[in-house]
Amino acid sequence: MRVFYYLELALRSFRRNRVLTALMVLAIALGIGTSMTTLTVLYILAGDPLPGKSDRTFYVQLDAEGKENYQPGGEPNVQLTRADAEALLRARRADAQAMMTGGEGAIQPSEAGREPFHVDVRYTSADFFSMFDVPFARGAGWTEREDEARARVAVISKQLAEKLFAGSDAVGRTIRLDQHELVVSGVLDAWRPTPHFYDLFTGAYEQAEQVFLPFSTSRDLDLERMGNIDCWGEQSMTPTALVAPCAWIQFWVQFEHRDQAAAYRDFLVHYSEQQHESGRFVRPPNVRLRNVMEWLDEGKVVPSDVRLQTWLAFAFLAVCLLNTVGLLLAKFLRRSQEIGVRRALGASRRAIFVQFLVEAGSVGLVGGVLGLGLAWLGLWAVRQQPQDYASLAALDPSMLAVTFVLAVASSCAAGLLPAWRAAHVTPALQLKSQ
């Protein structure tokens, strides 16, 4: 196959022009390295945290606030009041639904002499685990009945189980959270949804919580909450009271088919109208029902700095490629005599074009390998950053493939003009006698 001949010629040409080739490879490698580092970070941060289910899982928003600061058509509060969340949960109008909010507390290990330590907690309801495909290593979550009964039950993370029970089965054992005893019903497997989509207030890329327990139980035990709380109107009671005019609960629903969302939306509007009639809702119905990706988009989860960095890296790649075009042009036209000779010996313009395009692509291939190394280095540097998403920055197989495709494609693109110019060298001019 003639391509192998061209690859051989390319290799020879590299050896002949070591410095120039090294320069081109370096430029491409730098461009590819920075682009792939930022692209990988973006890809990780902007990914779908619930693949397969994200288009039929929705976040609910209602407008329960008062007259103050009312903008017709504005965004309703990001969270629900406790009263609304519990009402929607009881209504059970979706195939699965869960209310949840963040919490925190201190775990006291049972062995004497061990210090208590702080954990992040999630107060939620039974459907949480099945809705979000949370993997269990042992045991299972709790049931609806246990929700209603305010059972003293909890699900703990893999790390916590290891820390407290070091290898032995944690299911059925007890943990002490803020002086209260809870029975472990299940231990999770490693789980880190990226982003931490179900509650963006506790850190968009944070690790998942260590302890999960029923929301009802958390109120019974008056456990500490964590996250954002918005209160309005008369501040006459504890914000976490059932009828307090405060929004601090997240509410997610899931359907078998995403077309069912429309009907649920109607239900939400109807519910808002009912609340309005009873005098609780002051504003007209203003509901939102967004699926996971829409919700993440609205919440502007991906930090704008990350987007900016990605654009910067690609602009840098563009300059590197522009540079490569010039260097390739110089490299190819330097061989005008050779081109003339080859044309005289029977090479068509197309053959010359392909020959030099292959050479450009080979530079890209080598640059891609080096660029991959640089990207790996770049991601290592990102992992050293203290950002909460830092530890997630790693190359995965699909990004690896993208690196090579990008390197070869971009260097071929850079080589198009120089190869075309090479192919159109006038043989007669190169060969003439003095």
């Binding site: 003639r2 001949y5 020879r12 040409s13 002949r16 005599q337 050779e338 003339g340 000779v341 080859r342 044309r343 005289a344 010996l345 029977g346 090479a347 068509s348 313009r349 197309r350 053959a351 043989p427 007669a428 060969l431 003439k432 006698s433 003095q434």
Partner: protein, 241 residues
């Protein structure tokens, strides 16, 4: 082999129009040894370029080995050039990055031949010009005469019916020039059509036929008797490397 009728070539720049060739007729039969002579700027190089399909012409008709070249795509021309024509240039035009083996290989690669066949042809071509032992050498390591012989081997390897030589002896001293000329004569004797552009009268004298070009117009001249001066005509490999 080569039939040109009414060929004109016009060079246009912003200010002037130059007629490199005017209404040129030329018929070269297969197996002829033709010398094309004329003063500098007469258009002989242009004629060679057109004959070799390296340049296009403004008017007229050109048939190469029966094929009308007008309207042929670049791909078709290149293929024709590869299969029918072997070039020999004044400044040898070997590719400096490649050794002799790879230089002779170039036209064969564009022919699409397999490895074994290419190897066999290259080796036999280099043998014919007496450079088989220098196969792995680079052009820079050879003398002018050797380089030209290598260029001839390259022209031969594909066994084209037509050889076009542009001042083949121009950069060589008289001894090497004679050697090169003898090879060309040999090849002609073995059946190749050879067209040599030259302003060396000695070559003109040895050719069977002369075409003289002045100001873009060709005139056939009767060649002088084939004077053999100072060298012997021998058949087979000419000299030891």
């Amino acid at each position: 082999m080569l039939q040109m009728k009414n060929i004109s070539k016009l060079y246009r720049t912003e200010l002037v129009q130059t007629h490199a060739l005017r209404a040129l007729d030329l018929n070269v039969r297969a197996g002829e040894l033709l010398a094309v002579t004329g003063p500098s700027g007469s258009g002989k190089t242009t004629l060679l370029n057109i004959a070799g399909l390296l340049e296009d012409f403004s008017a007229g008709e050109y048939r190469l080995d029966g094929v009308d070249v007008r309207g042929l795509s670049d791909d078709a021309r290149s293929r024709l050039r590869n299969q029918k024509i072997g070039f020999i240039f004044q400044s040898f035009n070997l590719i400096p990055d490649l050794n002799l083996f790879d230089n002779v290989d170039v036209p064969l690669r564009y022919r699409g031949l397999g490895r074994a066949e290419r190897k066999q042809r290259i080796e036999s071509a280099l043998e014919r010009v007496g450079l088989a032992s220098r196969m792995k050498h680079y052009p820079a390591e050879l003398s002018g005469g050797q380089q030209q012989r290598a260029a001839i081997a390259r022209a031969l390897a594909g066994e084209p019916p037509l050889l076009l030589a542009d001042e083949p002896t121009g950069n060589l001293d008289s001894q090497m020039a004679r050697e090169v000329l003898e090879i060309l004569e040999q090849l002609n004797a073995q059946g190749a059509t050879v067209v040599i552009v030259t302003h060396d009268p000695e070559i003109a004298a040895r050719a069977q036929r002369n075409v003289h070009i002045v100001d873009g117009v060709a005139t056939d001249l009767e060649a002088g008797p084939a004077l053999i001066r100072g060298s012997e005509k021998r058949l087979g490999p000419i000299f030891a490397a």
